[in-house]
Each structure stands twice: as C-alpha cells, then as structure tokens.
C-alpha cells in the first residue's frame, strides 16, 4: 500500500510543528509533503501537491478553511479534508458537514486519538475502492473477511475466530489487514462497530444498552467509553446532536 500524502494547513507554526513531529506518520503509512499558513497558500499547495489528505484549520488568514475546501472540492474530489478547529460551535460543524469533509476534530489535538482519525480515513478509502472493484474483479481474500465481519459484528469476534472460519493463520490475517487496508485488525473492527452503533443511534430509538449489544459490546460501560474516545461525545449526546440539527 502506498503512503498517503498529507498537507498541513494552520497559521500557527507551533501547531504545524506539533502535527509534524508528535504524530507518528510513518507508523500510519503517511508522510507530510507540505505545509501552508494561509488560505491562498493552501489553495496553491493543494493544486500543486495533490495531497491525499489535507488537515485544515478553519480560522486562517486571507481565506478561511471552509472556503478553501469549497473551492478545492470540485478539482480534487479524492482529497480527504480533515478539519481541525478550536471553533466548536454548530454553525461551523454544519457548514463543514455540507462540504462533505471526512472528519472534524477539535483543538486541543490529542495525537494518539488523531491516529484513529487516520485509520478511519483509510478504512473509508478501502470501502470506496471495494465497492467500485467488486463488479469487475475476482474477489480478494480481504473482501471475504470484511464481509464476514460486517455480518457477524454483534458476536464475539477475534483473529482466532476468523482464522478458524477461513482456514488461514491468525498472523496472516493480521498482515492482510495491514497491507490491504493499512490499519490493524482491531482498529478495523472498532471502526465498523462504531459505524453500526451510529447508524442504530440515528435510525432507531433503541436504548443505549441495546445499541451497545447489537454493536458487539456486551458491557455498555465499555461501549460508552470506546464511543466517546472515537467520536468525542457520548452515544446519547450523539443521538441528541443529530436530532437538534434536524
């Protein structure tokens, strides 16, 4: 899997330095290919460098981050935009969602949690490719594995369960996830469980404990903790925020 190319956009040099040096880009198969300190520079760099991921502050000089995304969206439909902002209010969130950004994270940035964000991005990329390729190509092993996970995520699943089911070694499966998707098995499993939980929270009115169970978490305390770590808010908050926006 080729390395993802990242552009950093923030007007504060310390924030860019922090991203560059405190996050383990190598371990996540990424490399920082450029930086920009204002909106115009960001536009130019997106055009010239064609990054896979642009990490954007909203409040930057000359042209704000949302405007930059809006203007680059059409020319670079495959670039993933991640907004990093101290402006945790709804108007920005709503506008950002309209621009189909990939993720929205708040300052102060926790670099460990930022890894989850990159993992989610890779999984989304993989899923998009998978849906395009299915029609033309013969199915690859990884697709069988992910489909199985999707169908059985409410149950106890581990590498060894998968190994038994597919007659492969656990270690091989683990490597497969790393090489095909770029994330480890557990990160992938957590991601699809969270996606299921979010879907259940928004489309049903099941109590949290049942949502937790159907997403593969027997203990709702564990579920709440994992959910909060991945989404930044608790499951009930997530449900409410969505209802508020309606």
């Amino acid at each position: 899997m080729k390395k993802l190319r990242v552009l950093l956009v923030d007007d504060e040099i310390m924030i860019r330095e922090g991203f560059k040096r405190l996050f383990d880009w190598d371990a996540h198969d990424c490399e920082v290919v450029g930086e920009a300190a204002d909106g115009m520079e960001a536009l130019a760099k997106i055009d010239s460098l064609q990054p896979d991921i642009a990490i954007m502050d909203i409040n930057i000089p000359i042209m704000n981050g949302l405007k930059v995304i809006q203007m680059s969206r059409l020319k670079h439909p495959d670039t993933a935009f991640v907004i990093v902002s101290g402006y945790d209010d709804f108007s920005y969130c709503r506008e950002a969602l309209r621009l189909q950004i990939t993720d929205y994270i708040l300052k102060p940035v926790n670099y460990e949690e930022f890894g989850t964000c990159i993992d989610n991005l890779k999984i989304a990329l993989f899923q998009r490719q998978a849906s395009q390729q299915d029609l033309f190509q013969e199915e690859r092993a990884i697709h069988g594995l992910t489909r199985y996970l999707q169908e059985h995520l409410a149950e106890e699943i581990s590498l060894s369960v998968l190994a038994e089911q597919f007659h492969l070694s656990a270690q091989y499966i683990s490597q497969l996830f790393k090489s095909e998707i770029g994330v480890n098995f557990l990160a992938y499993l957590t991601n699809i469980r969270m996606e299921r939980a979010k879907k259940l929270l928004l489309t049903t009115s099941l109590p949290i404990a049942q949502v937790s169970e159907q997403s593969g978490y027997g203990d709702y305390r564990v579920f709440t903790k994992v959910f909060k770590k991945s989404e930044g808010i608790t499951p009930s908050q997530y449900r409410r925020d969505f209802l508020e926006k309606e």
């Binding site: 330095e17 101290g86 009930s236 409410r240």
Partner: protein, 434 residues
C-alpha cells in the same frame, strides 16, 4: 398662591430624601445633581417667603422684602447655572469632548449675582397681585436666558453623539423651563418660576438620577466586566496554553503536556456552556476534566463514576457538580492530605426524579459545622448573596437548583457511617425540552 409653593417644596424634599438616602456612586455628575437639589430646595423656601412678603408690603419692612427678593432671584440664577453645569457634564461624558464654555458661564454667574444684589428694586401693585420689578431683575433674567440658550446650543451641536433617552430628557426639561419663563414674562403676577425649576429637577431625577436607573447602569458595567473576564480571556488563554502544551510535548515532556491538555479541556468546556440548563453528559465532561487535574496534582486522590448511561441526556442546572466536588475535596479530603476517594453517582429515584450523589471518604463534619450547613441550605433564600467565603459554592448551587427546578428539589448533606460525607442533589428527571 402660597399653596403651590408649599406643594412644590414638599415634592422636591421627597425627591431629595430618596436621593440622599440611596447608595450611589460619587461621580462629578451626581455631585452636581446633589448641589442642584439643595439649591432648588432653598430656592423654593425663598419663593414661598417672597410670595408672602410681596403681598404684605405694608407690614413687612422694606429692607427685609428687598433682601428675600434679592436672595430669591440669586438662588434662581444659581439653580439655572447648575442645570447648565449638569447638562454640560452629561454632554461631556457622552461625547468625550471637554467643556469649553465653563469660563463664560462662571463670569456670567458673577455678573448676574452682582447686578441682582446691587441694582435698585421696586414693587408693582396690581389688582391681580403684587410683584417685584425694577432694574435688579434684568440681569438675572438675562442670565437665565443665556444659560437656557447655552444648553439648547450644546444639545443641538452634539445631538448625534448623545444617547436618545438622555437627549429627549434634556430637550423636554429645557422646553418646560422655556415655556414657564415665557409665561412668567407675559404674566408677571403668576409667579410660577418655581414650578419650572421643580419640573426640570423632577424630570432629571426620574429618568437619569433615580436609584433604579443608577443601579442598573452599575449592574451593566459589572456584567460587561464579567463578560470580558469569562469570554475573551479564556479563548486567548486556552489557545496559548495549547501552544505551550505542544512545545512541552516537542521537548519530550509528556507529563506537562498531558496536564496542560486537561487544563485546556477544562477551560474550553467552562467557556463553551452559557445556558442555565445543560445535559448531564456536558456537566460530567467538565467535572471529569476537573477531577483528572486534581488527581494529577494529588496522586493519592481517586475519583470514581457510576452514572446510569440513559441519564446522559437529562437536563441539569449548569455548573452544579464541580462546586460540590471541589467542596468535598477542600473541606473533606484536604485535611487528610488529599488521600481518599470521591464517588460520583447518578441514578433514577422514585417517579420522574433523579439523584446525583457525591460521596467522599474525608474527615466528615465536626458537629457544629453540620448544623450550620443544614441551616444555611434550609434557609438559602434568606442568605445574603455572597461573593466570597467558605460556602459560597454550595449556597450558589442550592439557590440555582431551587430557582431552576423548583423548591422541592435541592442539595442536602448526610454523614457516611464509614466516615466522610455525601452530598445529595435531588433533581426532576427532564429530557431535553425543545
């Protein structure tokens, strides 16, 4: 005729009583108004006396009559001069331009008073009534006209910069005084100059100088100070703290970086929420940032949570948990060297109610303190609002819970068998109301 003077005097005396018995700021403007009130009162007394003496020219000695008339007109000039001063200061405060007409105004005051006391005086007797006349009154009346014109001029020149309410007050007061002066000029026997002065004073008092108006202005100033303190600075503060955090982490100091991270979280959350009611989730987030910081500082301190997850969306008054927990730490656990545990739990109780408990393993109450706190929480309404002191936090929580949720809810303390105390907050169970 004397009845009107007495009535006007009583009105002014009443205003003066309320004005001087209220607490207020001693700004130049208010000092001027105080001087104006006193002079106007003296003027009304002299007004009453002259109305009597001028109608008893045969019995009252001539020199006495002259003296009270000269004093009466002298005080009138002084009152109108103070009116001018008051308006000039008001205009200065509103526009920021310094007063340039003070010197001519003062010189005119001296000239008017000299003319008033030195020029000859005479009396006119008519069937409708008597009045004083002669050259002595020409200069004072000229001065009154001069000051009124000055005021009108000030108002006209600065009309764009003056607050609408103040502008209309000054305008109306001037119009009243002008009309009264014209009437007095046309009908010498009416003797109504005192009425104009009283009405002018009254209009200023009612709109600009009454205690309520002054108090709300003071409150506004205080509020804007609070706003500055709580809104603008924290944004700057937590952005800067975040930069420092990143620098610390770049230097390899993860411990400092972590601490700063939690501090930034705490500030961000406490600035974000400005509604009276928030969800329990929001409240818990703030509390967790706080307790994590405290546990960092005191490693033998431990905080535990047991929150029913379906209560996450329940509405609770904003910022009630942190003060209670802080209280447990400072009064319960501090004297044990911050060794111990605080357990925060929330669960449904009874029908449509929930209880949040903050249980500590601290030193507990000494016997008299428990009674004092119970009494304070019970008679919370009678407690004067405190801005500092020991129990301000819990008293504040009690007041807000009672106000926002109802009198049957609120805060109480019990003692644990194993030591320490438990704070119970009983709240109605309300989901978000839209």
């Amino acid at each position: 005729m004397l009845r009107m003077e007495i009535a006007l005097f009583l009105v002014l005396a009443f205003v003066a009583y309320i004005y001087f018995s209220a607490e207020k700021e001693q700004a130049v403007l208010h000092r001027t108004f105080a001087g104006l009130l006193v002079t106007a009162l003296a003027h009304m007394v002299l007004d009453g006396i002259t109305v009597y003496t001028v109608h008893h020219l045969e019995t009252v000695p001539r020199f006495l009559n002259d003296a009270v008339h000269r004093l009466f007109l002298g005080s009138m000039v002084l009152v109108i001069y103070l009116f001018y001063q008051y308006i000039a200061i008001l205009v200065e405060e509103e526009t920021g331009k310094s007063r340039r007409l003070d010197w001519p105004a003062r010189i005119f005051l001296v000239i008017a008073e000299m003319g008033n006391f030195l020029l000859p005086i005479s009396y006119t007797v008519t069937p409708e009534g008597n009045y004083s006349s002669g050259p002595y009154m020409l200069v004072p009346y000229g001065a009154v006209a001069f000051y009124l014109l000055l005021c009108a001029g000030l108002l006209a020149v600065n009309r764009k910069q003056i607050d609408k309410k103040k502008k209309s007050v000054i305008g109306i007061a001037l119009a009243i005084e002008f009309i009264v002066c014209v009437l007095q000029g046309l009908r010498h026997t009416w003797l109504i100059s005192g009425m104009g002065i009283t009405l002018m004073t009254l209009s200023f008092y009612l709109t600009l100088e009454n205690p309520e108006a002054l108090r709300s202005e003071l409150m506004e100033q205080k509020m804007s100070m609070l706003y500055l303190k709580s809104q603008v600075n924290p944004h700057f503060l937590y952005n800067t703290l975040d930069t420092i955090r990143i620098q610390a982490q770049l230097n390899g100091d993860t411990k400092v970086a972590d601490l700063l991270m939690r501090l930034v979280d705490f500030f961000r959350l406490s600035v974000k929420v400005d509604r009276p009611m928030v969800t329990l989730d929001d409240e818990m987030e703030l509390l967790e940032a706080y307790t994590e910081l405290m546990c960092y500082r005191y490693p033998e301190l431990c905080c535990e949570y047991d929150i029913d997850p379906d209560l996450g969306g329940a509405q609770v008054p904003n910022f009630i948990l942190q003060p209670i927990v802080e209280n447990s730490l400072l009064h319960g656990l501090k004297n044990k060297g911050y060794r111990g545990r605080v357990t925060i739990s929330a669960q449904r109780v009874g029908d449509g109610e929930m209880e949040i408990c903050v249980r500590d393993t601290g030193g507990g109450f000494s016997s008299d303190v428990k009674a004092g706190i119970d009494e304070m929480l019970h008679s919370y309404a009678k407690q004067p609002p405190k801005l500092s002191g020991n129990s301000i936090g819990i008293l504040n929580v009690q007041k807000r819970v009672k106000l926002l949720c109802g009198r049957e809810y609120g805060l109480s303390y019990t003692e644990n068998e194993a030591g320490g105390v438990t704070a119970h907050i009983l709240l109605p169970l309300k989901e978000e109301t839209k």
